[in-house]
């Protein structure tokens, strides 16, 4: 009793208690990508070690590959070296590799849940901070650095200190054109980017219960922007039926047995959290960032804030620097700001439901003059499903580019950049200085808000369309 969802999964994976809140914890699933995988596999080789459980890891190249139609792994020179290294090193170590253009390939946090590789109550890691995405299915999923990737490959475990616990309850119905992306941007603006530092967060409440799995994945995706490396949502009937029939999910009697186990994965009514917060979700507007940190977010119908309250302090200077970097004037409405680029993609918002929302707004409209707009599906399966529904045509007829699954312009590591001082509305998760390219000005928003900006050419409240 008194156990949180996190506690239940944590204790179920404890191989050895190391004392003082430390434990040797089993890792059930390990995702490798082109940036984090090759170096760690190389480190293992250097140590003369082999991958302990290759069947529990999968690999997908996503960060440094081109999203250009007709691309191959070698389209980009630098990224091509990583693609090849990941492919070759996973082959020799027996780890399954998902090749470009084949079903299953995609951005690591899109393809893994989609294939049923992510299961409730499992521990899952990846050398990537947005691994928390996968907590949307009730997995204990978190990002790690390269040294820890090597540790997991060699031992299938990690030495971890139990984090603090935090619960955020969202109650109420979301407003029109408001998604889980808006909910999280609003939450981060409210509590700040380090509110969840050192915590495993659980999201609950009626808003979450009514959410589909893809929206839950988006919600958990942004948790690292709140400082939390781990975020979870208790699995429920929505989760179980979403998982049923996915290629790597259990089937037949194994599925029933798994569901019986998964049904016990929720926080006890008397569970105690180190911190609890409550949010009235019905009041959250479509939300967009104005600055260079995810906490610099306001309603899309809001006013660009003035740094004067914190003038002179390092925080005040940071706000002034953010405004000047973004080329914005405080005190003005953010709506109406002219945009140059629109990017619909990334592990935050590139799933089929995201593309449907965007296509719904774009249908019958044209991308505004002077705007370059891209849609980059998160995985080969998303792309194929979207094409089967004709979403690709809605986008291309409106003047969007329809590109191949990749992280693409989210982090610009593949060279797909927003030019200096150009303004971009992006459905990704980070608006850091230079994130989409040197001097690029990024506004993070939902697919609906991004689509609205694409067709009007300005930051626009999607409710007004």
């Amino acid at each position: 009793m008194h156990k949180t969802l996190f506690d239940k999964v944590w204790y179920a994976h404890l191989i050895r208690d190391l004392g003082d809140e430390w434990a040797l914890v089993h890792i059930d699933r390990h995702l490798l990508h082109d940036l984090s995988g090759p170096l760690a596999l190389e480190e293992l080789e250097r140590r003369g070690l082999s991958v302990r459980n290759p069947e529990l890891s999968v690999a997908t190249p996503d960060h440094a590959i081109s999203s250009e139609p007709g691309r191959t792994g070698m389209t980009l020179e630098k990224g091509g070296r990583l693609w090849r290294a990941l492919k070759e090193r996973t082959r020799t170590s027996g780890v399954r590799f998902f090749e470009l253009g084949t079903p299953g390939h995609g951005i690591v946090h899109v393809m893994a849940p989609e294939l049923g590789l992510v299961l409730p109550g499992t521990t899952l890691v990846c050398g990537d901070s947005h691994t928390c995405t996968n907590g949307g299915l009730g997995a204990l999923a978190f990002g790690i650095g390269t040294s820890d990737v090597a540790h997991v490959l060699a031992t299938q475990t990690l030495r971890l200190r139990k984090p603090k616990s935090m619960r955020v309850r969202f109650e109420g119905r979301l407003g029109r054109c408001v998604s889980s992306k808006d909910l999280m941007l609003d939450l981060i603006a409210r509590f700040g980017t380090s509110a969840g530092t050192g915590c495993a967060i659980e999201y609950g409440g009626s808003t979450i219960e009514a959410m589909d799995v893809e929206a839950r994945l988006t919600l958990c995706n942004l948790s690292i922007e709140l400082g939390a490396n781990m975020a979870m949502i208790a699995p429920d009937e929505t989760t179980f039926s979403w998982l049923q029939g996915r290629p790597f999910a259990p089937s037949g009697s194994q599925f029933d047995r798994a569901v019986a186990y998964w049904q016990g994965l929720n926080s006890d009514p008397d569970a105690i959290f180190d911190r609890e917060e409550y949010v009235d979700a019905s009041e959250v507007p479509p939300t967009i960032t104005w600055g260079t940190s995810p906490e610099h977010a306001i309603g899309v119908d809001g006013i660009i804030p003035h740094p004067r309250e914190v003038h002179g302090s390092p925080a005040g200077k940071a706000l002034e620097a953010a405004l000047s970097y973004m080329g914005l004037e405080p005190g003005r409405p953010i709506a109406g700001t002219k945009v140059d680029y629109v990017f619909i993609g990334s592990c935050a918002n590139s799933r089929l439901s995201d593309l449907r929302v965007a296509a719904g707004l774009v249908r019958g409209r044209r991308v505004a003059g002077g705007v370059r707009a891209w849609v980059v599906a998160g995985s080969e399966n998303v792309k194929r499903d979207a094409e089967a529904e004709g979403l690709d045509r809605i986008f291309t007829e409106a003047g969007f580019e329809w590109r191949e699954p990749s992280c693409s312009m989210c982090s610009a590591v593949n060279g797909e950049r927003v030019p200096p001082r150009a303004r971009s509305i992006s459905t990704s998760n980070r608006n850091f200085v230079g994130r989409q390219g040197p001097e690029a000005r990024t506004h993070i928003a939902s697919p609906a808000t991004a689509a609205a900006a694409a067709v009007t050419g300005f930051i626009t409240d999607p409710r007004a369309l």
Binding site: I15, R16, L18, G19, D20, W22, L24, H26, D28, L35, R47, L49, P54, E55, L56, V58, K78, G79, R96, L119, T122, G127, D128, S129, I144, G145, T146, S147, A150, H151, A154, T155, T157, R159, R161, P163, T193, S194, T197, G198, I224, G227, N229, F248, A249, P250, Q254, R257, A258, Y261, P314, K317, A318, S411, A412, V413, F432, G434, P438, E439
Partner: protein
Amino acid sequence: MQAFSFVSGSAAPLLIPNIDTDTIVRVEVISRSPEELGPCAFEVLRYLPGGAENPDFVLNQPQFRGAPILLAGPNFGCGSSRERAVWALLGIGIRCIVAPSFGDIFLANCYRNGLLPVVLSEENIKELASQANAEASFKADLVTLTISTSTGSVFTFEVDERRRQTLLQGLDEIEMTLKDTATIEAWQTRDRAARPWVWQPPTALV
């Protein structure tokens, strides 16, 4: 791993909040080895758009060039999990970062590489920053758990004891865990029976 007991020298103040790992090292530097990342540290702050050094950036100022201690703002190292951020900081000679809070993954990466992260309150860090100049010498000591300055200030800090021992002795975590191989084996055997669905499908499809 490089062991850490203490470091002394100048301390550079960079008190901006939310310095993310993209700012510490740009993601494009994927083809450099960990040892070659020094020149890439803080690229966006350190160089002007044309490529020349930015004289306003603290680590470019003569008294702070090569400072082994960085005094930082809250949420230092937030953002991506890239361990390259830690390697780049080590590459410019930083061995200790003092901040009110750190990004979780960055923090873990520091400990894996012999870089000491110290948590102090914002007021204490401001006090330290006010003493940071060409003459002042600072010492960050993991044995006594203190940060002291040549002008007489002493602040104590806390470090998780397990992490402290790992750093002091420069222990290798993979080697430590490999000693538990038999325990891991036994756990996995039990788990295969208890949660077969975790094990079967991927095995079957590989």
